[in-house]
């Protein structure tokens, strides 16, 4: 009988440079909920046990370690807990599909501005909002979890590239910090 050892994409590594920290974080199970036509009511009922509801576009909500994240039209990711029995939606395990990177610190937005083509100003992207966008040439899901903190979900196979891009930007931002204008 084989002994199957689980490995995350980046083995939980982390790095701090200047005022920014990059780390791979574990977020627990991820389940995609894709609501069928006319399935909304049943899904709402199923989610009630967790105290959650299908999120509005571009938002996520958290309750007792469970997080529900809008990811598309009539679609959300339930994270951190196993999905409850649910009618009205297609449930698909996405746990292994993603690597999750946390970027935090005062320079977070400066670092991400090197790669992400969306407005990250707090007023445009406040805490509790999520977006699907790009990080350089990779598709990502970005959650604003704090004024100076985001979590970035990237396809697991591209985690090393994502890490490399963010770390490179951290180096360049840090090098600039020593630059007088």
């Amino acid at each position: 009988m084989p002994e199957l050892i689980a490995k995350s994409a980046l083995e939980g590594r982390s790095v701090t440079l200047g005022n920014v920290t990059l780390a791979e974080v574990a977020v627990g199970p991820i389940t995609s909920l894709a609501v069928f036509p006319a399935g909304g009511k049943a899904v709402a009922k199923g989610l009630k046990v967790l105290g959650l509801a299908m999120p509005e576009p571009g938002t996520f909500a958290e309750k007792k370690g469970a997080r529900i994240v809008w990811t598309g039209r009539e679609q959300a990711f339930l994270m951190g807990v196993d999905a409850p029995p649910l009618e009205g939606a297609a449930l698909t395990d996405q746990t292994d599909g993603w690597a999750v990177l946390s970027v935090s610190g005062a320079g977070m937005a400066d670092v991400l501005a090197r790669w992400v083509p969306v407005d990250l100003r707090l007023a445009a992207f406040p805490v509790g909002r999520v977006m699907r966008t790009q990080l350089n040439h990779m598709n990502v899901v970005i959650l604003r979890i704090g004024d100076h903190a985001v979590e970035i979900m990237v396809f697991r196979s591209m985690a090393r590239t994502a890490w490399h891009e963010i770390e490179t930007a951290m180096h360049m931002v840090a090098a600039r910090a020593g630059v007088k204008i």
């Binding site: 084989p2 996405q94 993603w98 591209m158």
Partner: protein, 969 residues
């Protein structure tokens, strides 16, 4: 020459730098141009065509002459404007475009040949004999042309790109830009203020005067201090906005580290994509030269540049200065020079009604008609009425008036408007949505005009943003702008328009004479405006000369189009991140490290890296490893990571119906627990992709796609779903990344699989079942891409590496092991399985013998268009196998043996080949006209490129186990 007590340079910080091998001293705050002028270096370059001696003309990014190479420790940068390069300790620069030294450039002979090098001369000669163009003329022309040199070495510098968003983008920090930024900033709007120079203030740094009762410099300092204190204002010095694009997007180039020695990780440049709700174009205006004979000598400069060098850098570019200008404003240059104790030999003002009263001689109604001095100006000839006289001078400050810097307003095809009073083009309002031009950029030439219009534009933006603010416009100079348009002084000699490309008034007139009368024809024929300054210094004057030559007015003559970028931008900056592996993401398999541990060469498969083969000690070539791996699979068992295949989880009551619509064949009838091969067409009837789909439950399917088409298929499914059946009960999502999947293939596959399953299963061929492995839920498929009994085992990705290592270890105990892409390819060729080498986008189901898979009972994507007559019949090339005993190649073409080899006799081509250790022959797949009817015939395979000419037997494409007994065993 440096003037005491003048300038904004930091005289406490001397800086040493080197130019053309000689050491010089400057100060922090100097540009290379100001520092060279301070050291009385006037000759800094050679012109493009005639290799004429050239000196600094301007003090800005529009500089056409003073282009140099900056030499770093590892590489050099050509065509750097000396007027923009700040000096720093250790800066090394050298002149360019010369053969020999700068003083004795051998190519200066071109200047003597100039009568034969007139506009467009090269279109009329060098045609005979034909071979001489490429062999002789062109190489000589190429070597003589060009400006600076690239080193040919990889650019290892650091560059970055970034995005920024704001409410108000202010472009330029002169009086109009500063007040606009202050107004919007005080209103609480998010402001980005871009300034091309390293210091804010624009023209206020170069000129005297007061604003709101305080000296202009003091006002600048106050405003800048306030802006710096506002958290909603971001000041970006050394940043040139280079382009206006759709919907409020602007490109901007920031010179981050070019003004200091290289430092690790510090970008040289950053290319910004700025998205602004509103923009204020406060880019000022550019002073324009006057064309007169030999107006290009070192020492002849723009009047405003002379003023800038004096006031901003404390430098005077000569000992006896003269001024040739047609506006009152330019007189300030002369007055300030005199106030600083510099001799002004004369003012030449072509306006007959201009004032003759200054503290130096003034020649009203006069023109400069010539100059002398080989490597630098020593005197000018002045004509007044019928009299021509000489004035000794080593610096002529000239001004033909000003052109508003309107370039960005034209980047989106906006045509500028001719303003007769200014004798200049001004922006067409609304040319760029959301952008308002202000100050001199919009023709408001006075300081007051700049402040008032800058303020008004910012107020408009503030109001549109729903904000409120009250900012008073301070008092400032409001002198009227009067000029007499003067483009070119009449005369016989060569008078330069485009200094950088050596275009003279004669060239423009010649173009008109030869019928190149459209402004675009003139530009293209003479190359006017196509040099590094893109005609910033010369386009309007050239247009005026053309208008004159063709008897038209300037507005009817038209204007060439300004295109981005406003200043040249390095490829490295706009391409930042692309260097090396950064060009595209890298995708790694969970087995990646395990494969590398076994020394497998990893090759790119799309974005993925897959093992090519797994070498064993003693194997000298990839073929040996490949042959071994093929035989291993055929005789024992092999393991391959197939996780790169696209996997799409499809659920819902209408899932089967949906698959029936996107596949040619039927999936709604597939029993639960079974897998079926499916063929997918594009709507144009040609093959999009193939793969297997499994029915995991009543309303649950798992589709697989090829690696190459995974993204394509997902997009296609999304379209079909959203466009045609959004109301169906079907939902799907990619699970490619969620599962690691491994092929276990060979006669011992079943034994291997059952050795690690918690409870062994008996799966029929094309069956699927959930399994448990070491406490983990997985899926087992009985499918084969090799023709052997084969399984694919899938586990959640996190267990992929562990499972791969385990499977390989088990296989090795059974005489098996891992196999790579090379063996996988041979195995599938032996079995006649197609890949995108075969379904390359021009192939129909008919071509691959799968027309019967297009179900007659239902509609599907591509079904109708596939019936087009051109996609059927014996003229089509059809999939066949090829067999022979000599090496063959993919890409070879097929012919009937004994016929000639050319296009008309071409019968088809080869898509895949491999040596088959199983069959003991070279096998190929290819497409042959009416191929299915020709099985058993011989064809001649010709690969000219590799020198192959081989007779092959045409076969059914399935060479190995044609009955499929092994698959079903």
């Amino acid at each position: 020459m440096r003037i005491d007590g003048k300038g904004l340079i930091d005289r406490t910080k001397p800086v040493r730098f080197r130019f053309d091998g000689k050491d010089y001293a400057g100060y922090k705050g100097d540009t290379l141009a100001s520092a060279l002028l301070a050291n009385d270096v006037r000759l800094v370059g050679r012109s493009f065509k005639y290799h004429r001696p050239r000196g600094v003309l301007t003090a800005g990014s529009e500089e056409p002459n003073a282009l140099v190479e900056v030499v770093g420790p590892s590489n050099q940068t050509p065509n750097v404007r000396a007027t923009m390069q700040e000096v720093f300790e250790g800066l090394v620069a050298q002149s360019q475009n010369r053969l020999g030294s700068l003083r004795f450039d051998l190519l200066a002979v071109n200047d003597y040949l100039s009568p034969f090098l007139s506009a467009g001369f090269y279109y009329k000669t060098f045609m005979w004999p034909r071979a001489f163009w490429e062999g002789l003329y062109e190489p000589i022309i190429r070597r003589a042309a060009g400006l600076g040199s690239l080193s040919g070495k990889h650019d290892e510098g650091t560059y970055e790109k970034a995005f920024a968003f704001c409410d108000v983008l202010v472009i330029g920090s002169g009086p109009s830009g500063l007040i606009a930024a202050l107004t919007a900033g005080r209103a609480g709007a998010d402001v980005i203020l871009c300034e091309e120079s390293h210091a804010l203030g624009g023209r206020l740094l170069s000129a005297g005067g007061t604003i709101g009762g305080v000296p202009a410099g003091e006002w600048v300092a106050q405003v800048v201090a306030e802006l710096q204190a506002l958290p909603n204002v971001r000041i970006m010095p050394r940043t040139t906005v280079t382009g206006a694009y759709d919907h409020g997007t602007y490109g901007a180039l920031e010179r981050v580290g070019l003004h200091k020695p290289a430092r690790p990780n510090l970008p040289r440049e950053c290319f910004w994509r700025i998205v602004a709700k509103h923009a204020v174009l406060a880019s000022g205006a550019l002073e324009r030269p006057v064309a007169f004979e030999n107006n290009d000598r070192p020492g002849i400069m723009m009047a405003s540049a002379v003023r800038t060098y004096l006031n901003r850098y404390g430098v005077v570019p000569g000992k006896r200065v003269t001024l040739f200008a047609n506006t009152d404003a330019a007189r300030a240059t002369a007055r300030e020079l005199m106030a600083a104790g510099v001799t002004v030999a004369a003012i030449i003002d072509p306006r007959p009604d201009a004032s003759g009263v200054e503290e130096c001689p003034v020649h009203v109604g006069a023109e400069v008609v010539g100059s002398r001095g080989r490597l630098g100006l020593s005197g000018i000839q002045v004509r007044k009425g019928s009299e021509v006289f000489e004035i000794e001078t080593d610096c002529l400050a000239m001004s033909g008036g000003w052109n508003p810097t309107i370039h960005l307003t034209c980047h989106m095809n906006g045509r500028p408007r001719w303003d007769e009073d200014l004798a200049a083009f001004v922006p067409m309002e609304g040319a760029v949505q959301g952008l308002l031009a202000v100050g001199a950029a919009n023709g408001s030439m006075s300081t007051h005009g700049a402040l008032a219009t800058g303020h008004a534009a910012a107020m408009k933006a503030v109001e549109a943003l729903g904000r409120k603010v009250s900012v008073a416009v301070p008092e400032a100079e409001d002198m009227p702008y009067r000029l007499k348009a003067l483009w070119a002084v009449e005369g016989k000699g060569r008078a330069w328009l485009d200094f950088a490309n050596d275009v003279t008034t004669k060239d423009v007139k010649l173009a008109a004479q030869e019928g190149y009368r459209s402004v675009e024809h003139m530009k293209r024929y003479t190359t006017q405006g196509m040099a590094p300054d893109q005609g910033k210094n010369s386009n309007v004057a050239a247009l005026a000369v053309l208008a004159d030559a063709t008897g038209r007015g300037i507005p009817e003559t038209g204007v060439t189009t300004f295109r981005p970028p406003y200043v040249p931008v390095s490829i490295a900056a706009m391409g930042a991140g692309g260097r090396g592996e950064g060009f595209a993401p890298q995708r790694f398999l969970t087995s990646d490290q395990a494969s590398r541990d076994r020394h497998a060469p990893m090759i790119e498969a799309g974005l993925w890296y897959r093992p090519s083969y797994f070498p064993k000690p003693g194997e000298a070539t990839w073929r040996e490893a490949c042959d071994r791996e093929v035989t291993m699979v055929r005789q024992a068992v092999g393991i391959a990571d197939v996780s790169t295949l696209g996997k799409i989880d499809i659920q819902g009551k209408d899932a089967g119906r949906f698959l029936d619509f996107v596949y040619t064949n039927t999936f709604s009838t597939l029993p639960v627990g079974r897998v079926r091969y499916g063929l997918m067409l594009r709507e144009d009837g040609l093959v999009l992709d193939d793969g297997t789909s499994a029915r995991l439950g009543e309303n649950h399917y798992l589709m697989t796609t090829t690696t190459a088409a995974a993204g394509l298929v997902m997009r296609h499914l999304d379209f079909v779903h959203q466009a045609f059946c959004a109301d169906w009960q079907v939902r799907f999502i990619s699970v490619t990344e969620s599962w690691a999947q491994f092929a276990v293939a060979g006669p011992k596959a079943r034994a291997l699989v059952n050795s690690f399953l918690e409870s062994p299963v008996e799966l029929p061929f094309m069956g699927v079942a959930p399994v448990r492995i070491g406490g983990v839920d997985g899926r087992l498929f009985r499918i084969s891409f090799s023709g052997e009994e084969g399984y694919e085992i899938a586990v959640p990705t996190r267990y992929g590496e562990a499972l791969f290592r385990d499977l390989v270890a088990r296989a090795e105990t059974m005489g098996g092991g891992p196999y790579g892409m090379e063996a996988l390819n041979v195995l599938r060729i032996e079995k006649g399985f197609i890949t995108h080498a075969e379904i390359h986008g021009r192939i129909s189901a008919y071509d691959i013998g799968m027309e019967k898979m297009v179900s007659a009972k239902k509609d599907c994507i591509g079904k109708a268009a596939a019936t087009r007559p051109g996609l059927w019949g014996p003229e089509r090339e059809q999939l066949v196998g090829l067999k022979t005993h000599a090496p063959i190649s993919s890409g070879a073409h097929l012919f009937v043996p004994g016929t000639e080899v050319h296009r008309e006799t071409d019968q088809g081509y080869v898509t895949s080949v491999g040596w088959s250790p199983t069959v003991g022959a070279w096998l190929g797949l290819g497409f042959l006209k009416d191929g299915r009817a020709r099985i058993g015939e011989k064809v001649r395979l010709v690969d000219h490129l590799r020198g192959l000419d081989v007779i092959c037997e045409v076969c059914h494409p399935v060479f190995h186990d044609p009955e499929g007994e092994k698959l079903r065993a």
